[in-house]
Structures are given as C-alpha cells and as structure tokens.
Amino acid sequence: MDYIYSILTLTGITMIGVMGTYMVTGLTGQFSFGQAAFMAVGGYVSAMLTLRFNLPFPVVVLAGSAAATLTGLLVGMPTIRLRRDYISLVTFGFGEAIISVLNNSAQLTGGAEGLVGIPKRVDLPLVAVSVVCCLFLVACYKNSKFGRQSLALRTDELAARSMGIDVNRMKLVTFLFASAITGYAGVLYAFYSQYLEPGYYNWTVSAEWLIIVFVGGINSLTGAMVSSVILTGLPELLRFASAWRILIYCIIVLLIINYRPNGIFGDWEINRLWKKRKAVQGGRA
C-alpha cells in the first residue's frame, strides 16, 4: 500500500512539473531543456529556509515559488529574444549550471551527498489538492487573453506582432508563470522525499517532461496530464520485466510519435465535452 501511495504522490508532483513544461512548450512553443532546474531552485530554497531559519511551511512554499520565478526572470530576460533553438540550448546550460552550483556549494546544500533532515510536510492529499488547484490555474491561464496570445505567437510570431501582440513580453509572462508552478512542484518534492540531491534534477528529467507533453498532445493540457499519469506509472507497471522496461517505454513513445504525430490528444481539451453539450442545449432553447 505504501508503495502505491508513493507512486501516486510522485505522479502528482510530476503532473505539476509537467504543467510548467506544457506552458513553455505547449503554449509559447519554446523548448525548455532546463525546466527541472526550477524544481531544484524551489526545492532547495524552501528546504534550506526551513532547516536554517525554521520558517513555517506556508512561508517557505511561497519563498520557494518566488525564488523559482525570480530565477525564471534572470534566465528569461536575456533568452526570450533568442530564436527557439537557442532557447533550448540556453535553458539546457542553465539547468546543468544550477546542478553544478548545488554540487559545489557543499557547505550550504550538502553537495553531492544531498540535503538531509527535511521535515515531512507533504502527503498524498496535499499533492492531490495541489494538482487540482494548479490545473485550475493553468487551465484558466490557457483560456484567457494570455493563453490565446501565447498560442497565437507559437504558430506565427510575425502575424502575432501584426495583431499588436507584444511577443517578447507574452513569452516572458508565460515563462515566469511556468517557473513558479515548477518551483512549487519542487517544494512539494522536497518536503515529501525529505531528501534532496542535485542529480535528481538533471536534464533527463526536463527531457522526460518534454516527452510527456509531446506524447499527450502538444496543444492539449488534458493530454499532458493523462500522459504524465501513463508515462510515470508505466515504468512502475513494467517493473516485472525490469530489464526490458526502458525498451518497452521507448517503443511505446516511438509508436505514438509515429502514428499520432500530434500526440494522443492533439489539441483536444476535456472541457469540449460540456461545451458541446451546452451548445446543443443552447441550440434547442
């Protein structure tokens, strides 16, 4: 039971992390290869504040997210002007740099041995509530002027500018919101696992989140969420075939990318179900 409980909790935390990647990649079309580093910033800042100053949990949650947002601002300001392919390089470099800093400032962070002794403040119910709340915020964002402008500039920056959209500002706002959400995922992870090590946040995690977003449907938040559940749960389900599980995982991902290049859900969102029903009712009335 404990095992399932922990899988569910970690899946929930991954879902929140994937929401950040979804915003950067799905909404504005940037490739963030360093998204997990924002999780590291959120996690380490909140954990260190607790260990050193014994601040109350709600305060360190805010501080962790705020630190991630601030880091997002530092990375985002100079990079947002760059072309898409360069952004992935810069975020990749930034992610690895963060890990390097965490490894080398051992007196503060515990270095490669990790940061221990973090109190347990997060359990499954809190993660579940967090997933629902974050999902609400991100879905509202997508459905607002911010989401529309981001999606517009993703397909065509030139046309977006000709509509009066401030493309750079829009990219930055979305990037910052994504940093905040990912930072929050980092806080949850820190206070759930009670132990942090820099290696957990390297680029493979960011790449995994990108894969999740692509498999789910690049334009679909619903898809990103469903595929986070499937792709984080799948390796666990395949544990019986431990030698083969990475291979099976890869084959499934390849099949989906091959036969559904727009991902499982494409740009379908779950709210279309009741939107359509409403339209039908409206038509009858």
Partner: protein, 264 residues
Amino acid sequence: MNSCIATPSTRGLLEVSGLCKSFGGVKAVDGFSFDAKPGEIVGIIGPNGAGKTTVFNLVTGVYTPDSGSVRLDGVELSGWRQDVIARAGIGRTFQNIRLFKGLNVLENVMTASDPYAPYNFLSAILSLPAKRAADRQATGQAREYLDLVGLGGMEEARPESLPYGLQRKLELARALAIRPKVILLDEPAAGLNPSEVREFIDLVRRLHERFNFTIVFIEHRMEVVMNLSHKLFVLSFGKLLASGEPEVVRRNPAVIEAYIGDEE
C-alpha cells in the same frame, strides 16, 4: 542616397515618403512615396519583385526603413516596434495567409482585442468576474466581425480546415478586429476563383462603406484593382513609376512597358 530625398506629399492619413530599404547590395525599395487620405482605397501595383510586399513590411515595422518616413495621422512611425505600429492603427493581411493554427476561428479574431483586454494576470488565472465579463464582450465583438465577412456559425472550426477562400476572409476579419485606421491587404484576391473574386470585391466595398477606413492593397488581378481603387501607385524595381487615377495609370505607356515590355 541622392534618390532618397523625401518629396512633400499632400496631407493624408497615411503618408509614406522617400522610403528606402536595401538587402545587401540590392535596393528593394528606392525612394518610394505614397499617401492615402481618410477613407480612400489605394492600390499598389507593379511587376513581380518590384518591392510591393517590402513596402508593406516597412510600413508595418517588420523591417526598419534605411531612410524615409511613415506617418499615420501626422505621427512618425518608422523605427517603432511592429506590435506598437499595429496598436497605433495599422492592420494587415498577408500574401500567404498566416492564421493562428493553434486557435479556432473565433479565438483567431479575439487575439485582436486581447492586447487591450482590461484584466490582469491574477483575474486571468483565477477566472475572476472581471475576466469573464471582458472575455464575454470580446467574444461578442469577434462574432460580429465573423458575421460581417460571412463566417458566422463557424466559430469553433479550425482555421486550417476552412476552404482557401474562407481563410482569406478570416484573415480579413482578424485584421478588421484591431479596428485599424488603415488596413493593408497584400494580394487579397490571390488564389480565389472568378466568382470568389467578385464576391470579395463586394465584401470590401461593403466593409468600406460601413467602417469608412483607409485601405491600401497590393493586387495583380486587374478586375480588383480597377473596381476598388480610387488611386493607384505603380512600383517598379523599388521606385515609383506612376501614380494617379486608375484609368489614367492604366494607359500610361511607362506602366505598360514595365508590365509587358516595350511594344517594339
């Protein structure tokens, strides 16, 4: 740069004078001037590669002019950012249709009002009443523009799934929705069949009567040029070749030569 001396033009809503732009060693636009008075429909014609689209890109800020000026209502726009120029009141459509594929038909038009939408980040992520009211209003306006161009009832469709002619209309509706003072249409009738072209001419007339905005368009189809424009400017190798009333310009020997070569 002798050729780039600005010539004074009569007071218009959009005044472009002495526009120059080189790409490497090629002078794409070389001292071109044109103007459009309020409510006027102005055509820009010229052989392929004459620099017509470059002129539009210079006016809308996609490129910065090497020299020359672009004035809207007396305000100098050259050197401004593209999105600022759009918000100042210049809307445009593109030669190769550029719709937002990630958004449906209605949302494509709504992006026009989004830069002005009166709600902040917090009301957006919490979907507060202010946000919902503003979005409802924006939806209503966008629907009106769709109805105007004859796309009512297709709000939920994907733009890429529309037939070509309707995609052109959607792009027009989207450009109208930013409520421009001047709207630039880059070959709006390209790729339309003859009956669609006639329908398009009627549509532009109807919209013009209703909003009385200034239209500047690039077009090759003589039917469109002769039917719509009050005034024509002919561009050849980046330079102004002739300008004036359509019928006069059409008979200008220099224009005929530029298009079909010397008669001899």
